[in-house]
Amino acid sequence: MTKDKQAQRDRRDARARAAMTTRPKQGGISGMWMAIGGVIAVVVVIIGMVIYHEATKGNSSPASSAGAGSTSTVPPAVMHDVESVPASVFNTVGIGKQLAYPVAFHGHAPNVGGKPVAAYIGAEYCPYCAAERWPVVTALSRFGKFSGLKATHSSSSDVYPNTQTFSFHGSTYSSPYITFQPVETASNQPQGDSYKPLDTPNALQASMFQTYNGPPYFSQSGAIPFISYSNQYGSQGASYSPQVLAGLSMSQIASALHDPSSPVAQGVIGTANTVSAAVCAIDGGKPASVCQSPGVTAAAKKLGSG
C-alpha cells in the first residue's frame, strides 16, 4: 500500500471516529423524524379508512317503496348476508331440496375476456326467475363480486306473486374465473299486454338461447329463466320451489340462508351448490376452496341429470 493511500485511509477513519464520538448525526436525527413521521402517517391513513368505513356503514338507503320504479337499492345487510354464507352451511345443505338439475349441452364453449361465459336470461316479472336469482347470486359471490344489483319482485298478478328478489338489470360482476352475462328482458311494470322491455340479448346470448333453450335439452322452448354455463351445462326454470320464498322479505330470505335447516336454505343453498358445481366444471375447478368443498362435489354428481 502506498503512503498516499494510507494517509487517505487514516483521514477517512479519523472523520468516521469524529462523526461517531463528537458530532451528532444530523442527517440521522432529521431522517429519524422523517421515518417516525412516515410510520405515523401510515397508521393515521389506516385509522382514517377504518373510521370512514364505520361511519358510512349502513348509510345507504334501504329498499324504499316510495319510488315509482320497478327496482330499488338492495339493503347492505342483505348483500352482506348473501355474500357471507359460511362454507359450513353450503357443506351441510349439500344438494338440499331441488326440483331439477342442469342438463348437459357439451356444445362449443365461448370465451370472453379469456374466461368461460355463463349467461342468464330472465325477466323481472317472472316468478321462477325471482327464485333462481337467489342461488345464482349466492353461488357467484363465491367466485367474484356483484355490484349494482337492485331489489325487485316478481309480478303481482302471476303465480307466486311479489316474490322478493334481485334484478341483474344494470349490475356488473367481476371474477377472475368466469364472465357472467345476465339479461333481464323485461321489468315487472305492465305495458300493454306484456311488460316494459329492459335488456336486449347480444349475439352470443341470443345464440345460446336459441340453440339450447328447447328440445332435445328441455321439453319447452324459450322458457325463462334460462342459464347456459359456457354451453356445457344449462338450466331452464326454477331449480327449487318459489313457494319457499312466499311472503318473505329480502332480509328474511337472506337471513334464512344462514340456517341450513330452513326451507329457504334447502332450496337456495342447495341450488347454489349446483350452480357452483356447473361453474367449477367450466372454469377448471377454481377456486379449489369452493370446487373441492363437500357441498359442491355432492352437487357435481347431479350435473347433467336434468
Binding site: M20, A35, V42, S289
Partner: protein, 160 residues
C-alpha cells in the same frame, strides 16, 4: 430521507438486523401458510367464515389476485427478498443500492398493505385475520427499516 455525505459512516443500530430479520421470518411464515391454504384442499384457514371477520371471503375474492397470481404468493416472494436484505451482512453492506432497495421495498410493502386494507373494507366488506397479521408485520417492518436506516446516520442517497 435526506442526502448524506458520502464519507459519513454507515453505522446501523445493533437491533436493526435481529428485529427486521425476525419480522421478515414471521411475515414469511404467514405467507407460506396462506399460500398452502390457497392451493391445498386438505387445509382450511383457522379463521371465522361468518360476519365481518371472514378469511375465506377475503382469500377467495377477486381482490386476492394480482397479475393472475394469488396475493399470498406475492407476499411469500416479497418476504424472501426482504429477509435476504435484512440479514446481518446486508445491513452491514455499504452498497447504496442495498440501502435504497431496502427502504424502497419497505415503502412498496406498506403501500400494498394500504391497498389491501382498502379492498377489505370497501370492496370485499370482510376482514381476514391472517391477512391482518401480515399487514401488521409489514407495518412494523416498514417502521423498523426506516428508523434503523435513519439511525445509521448515512441514509440512502437520493442525489449525487
Amino acid at each position: 430521507l435526506e442526502v448524506a455525505d458520502r464519507d459519513e459512516v454507515w453505522d446501523p443500530p445493533a437491533w436493526a438486523w435481529p428485529v427486521t430479520t425476525i419480522l421478515a421470518l414471521v411475515g414469511l411464515g404467514l405467507s407460506i401458510y396462506l399460500t398452502i391454504v390457497h392451493y391445498s384442499t386438505a387445509v382450511t384457514l383457522a379463521c371465522s367464515s361468518t360476519g365481518t371477520i371472514n378469511c375465506e371471503k377475503v382469500t377467495t375474492s377477486p381482490e386476492s389476485y394480482l397479475l393472475g397470481r394469488p396475493v399470498a404468493v406475492w407476499g411469500l416472494v416479497y418476504f424472501v427478498v426482504v429477509l435476504v436484505m435484512c440479514l446481518p451482512a446486508a445491513w452491514r453492506s455499504q452498497s447504496q443500492a442495498m440501502k435504497i432497495g431496502r427502504v424502497a421495498l419497505a415503502i412498496l410493502g406498506v403501500l400494498f398493505v394500504l391497498r389491501l386494507i382498502y379492498a377489505e373494507l370497501f370492496e370485499i366488506d370482510a376482514i381476514c385475520l391472517w391477512c391482518t397479521a401480515v399487514h401488521a408485520v409489514m407495518l412494523a417492518l416498514f417502521g423498523a427499516v426506516l428508523v434503523a436506516t435513519a439511525a445509521a446516520g448515512n441514509p440512502p442517497q437520493t442525489a449525487s
